[in-house]
Symmetry: none
Subunit: 410 residues, 2 copies
């Protein structure tokens, strides 16, 4: 079953905004059994929209369109689709009430633009937008489905997950697709590939393997397409058992969870608590932990000690050790971990100090040098890493690595 994605917006065509919508939708729709035939990105003008739509309808059963549904003058998708499908515009009371609730809830008055967003074509099914004012529009023609959605990523994502996917599953008979993730940490892609080469070469033909490296991690994806989901999953599970025997300490999840979730689940289930002390990662570890709902059950807080005086005053780091070894050193990072653990009275603590870059490096301690310490109920361990030159990547890698070090203590 073919599916096309049309993304509308000049910001995509001038290289101002990266098209994460098409990427996310492709993954989500592929997972439920659709073959994504084409992604098309175009400007918000009537003739271009119509031409892309006609091209897609020639080859695909479903066309998902995002963008151009806002209330402002540069948004032309809705009138264009309405014209194409030969409908006329009417006011939708349910949409109006929802918009009113959203707008007045934020303390604003309904204005003309808000009113305008409740005007929709009369020949489509209106799809609820739980997180915004522009509704989705579901058209059908000759057994094919065309859905227009807002381009704001979090609005579109909720709409696809909660509304579009359930409806598409009801309307089309789709093959089963399994994409099973195996999360690994601690081995670069090239080494990992070598280590598991025999296993990879002996995978059953029905299982496809992909390597997905990201800073600090390599995810493996085992994919299978067919009709018998249980059988497919059994085959995949059997291969993961073999893989776990090959690289036992490197796999941290086979459950689509990220590292902070793995750590959080363990702490929560064992009624244990965690605090962090961050220098070079500047709050990113805390963010990874606290973006998980329920993290307040086990995460007490952090001291982000960007300046040395904060390390001394708030974390009881010794001035003498800062002078002797520098902020990026085993002595300092261990004192940071113990300091925050004691201060916040937790079972575990993570501390990080490093040189994220682009400046601040030296011959002895180049950019990317990071010390990480993990304090546990039984003691403390620490390790030095040398990552790369890119600040943002260093922040990410150091954070994931620190959470990985904590996981190994459980």
């Amino acid at each position: 079953m073919n599916l096309d994605i049309i993304s509308i917006g000049d910001e995509l065509l001038i290289g101002q905004t990266l098209n994460t919508n098409a990427f996310w939708m492709s993954k989500a729709l592929n997972q439920i059994g659709f073959t994504i035939r084409q992604q098309t990105t175009i400007a918000d003008t009537e003739d271009v929209i119509l031409s892309a739509l006609e091209n897609s309808l020639q080859h695909s059963d479903v066309v998902l369109v995002t963008g151009g549904l806002g209330p402002t003058n540069d948004d032309l998708t809705m009138p264009t689709l309405n014209k194409y499908f030969g409908g006329s515009l009417k006011r939708d009371q349910k949409v109006f009430d929802h918009i009113k609730q959203l707008v007045t809830g934020k303390g604003f008055e309904m204005n003309e633009n808000n009113q305008k967003q409740a005007i929709v074509p009369d020949n489509c099914t209106v799809i609820h937008n739980a997180n915004g004012t522009a509704p989705g529009l579901w058209f059908e023609k000759d057994g094919k489905v065309i859905v227009a959605m807002p381009g704001v990523p979090y609005e579109m994502k909720a709409m696809v997950s909660d509304e579009i996917i359930p409806r598409l599953k009801k309307q089309f008979v789709l093959p089963e697709i399994i994409n099973q993730m195996v999360y690994t940490q601690g081995m670069p892609e090239s080494m990992l590939a070598e280590k598991i080469a025999d296993w990879e070469n002996n995978l059953p033909e029905t299982i496809k393997l992909a390597y997905l490296p990201s800073p600090g991690r390599v995810k493996l994806r085992l994919s299978s397409t067919g009709t018998d989901r249980l059988l497919m999953q059994n085959y995949i599970d059997a291969e993961i058992v073999k893989l776990e025997a090959l690289i036992p300490t490197y796999i941290y999840s086979t459950d689509n969870e990220d590292m902070a979730a793995v750590v959080g689940t363990y702490l929560n289930e064992n009624k244990l608590t965690l605090a962090t002390a961050e220098s070079c990662t500047g709050g990113y570890i805390a963010h990874l932990i606290t973006r998980i709902a329920g993290s307040s059950n086990y995460y007490k807080g952090s001291v982000i000690a960007y300046a040395n005086e904060i390390k001394i005053n708030e974390l009881n780091v010794l001035q003498a050790d800062l002078d002797a070894f520098g902020a990026v050193s085993r002595a300092v990072v261990e004192q940071m971990a113990l300091g925050v653990k004691q201060k916040m009275n937790t079972d575990y603590a993570i501390a990080i100090s490093g040189i994220a870059g682009p400046t601040g490096g030296s011959e002895e301690k180049p950019v990317g040098t990071v010390w990480i310490a993990v304090a546990t109920p039984d003691g403390i361990s620490s390790k030095k890493y040398v990552f790369g030159k890119l600040r943002e990547v260093n922040i990410q890698r150091a954070s994931i690595t620190a959470l990985g070090m904590l996981r190994k203590e459980f």
Copy 2:
């Protein structure tokens, strides 16, 4: 002058790889004056490639194709283009020598696949690939240019910058294009549009306006295409002056900077310092600040007080106020701001306390309720916001809003 981009590869269509190539090329080619008409992403099969190419050639003068140029059997772009342009394949000695140098330089022997990559169509200009073995192919037909390039990002980028752009500039007379951003914060898109409607309607015909909303912000883009860059910039600057008079407190940058950068630049230039105390945003504000290189000049650190006991012990929040008003209250958030400001001895401090969700809300304080306080050298101000239901979006919006509140104090 229209330009199309065709990206070839299954990894893009199953949502495994984000299409950063199309994004990067769009920006680079738009900057030298091309109008990117369409980005198309397709699988590596002959009929699909030909259909996309024909569609693009109907509307555009230049078509840039990436991917499918590798040496293996599933790479069909080269034979397909060769067939389409009616050429025949020949061995290119210069390409062969380059491949041999690359392969043997890495300590490998030339194999069959390497040999194959020196076979190219005889009716195109072969483009040097400084960083890889697959050459680029430059075809011309009826005054139009079609270039096929490898999909490996760093190979493609060097080829575009060093070879393709200089040749295109020589071959086509290109207009000047300006895309000027205006960053606003504090007003939703629909209200902003109403507020600036008269200004928008009276924009010169040569200036095109677009609204780009994201959590907590709306970016406005003023675009202009012409021949006299200076004159165009003058027109745009004049309009921005009018806009600033209309919504003075809502614009935080006209310089492509994000909010944390705007705040950081001010603090840095005025030798002022900042600390933060975060509860519901859990380190995300600190991360936004510290991902900027050089932030250690003005940012001293943060106390992430996720647990109430940390608010009391580390930030001197009064137990009595926590009991009387709750953690999400003006009294508590102001004490947090003053506490961290004093503790870290800074000029400014931001504090946040709120309910990020999905649980923890009540009738009186629903999910999304956030109190933000900003302490300055002169005093303290605080404000309550009610954002939405999505945890991750609430964290982002609260963080951007807090930085925006700080900016307004400068």
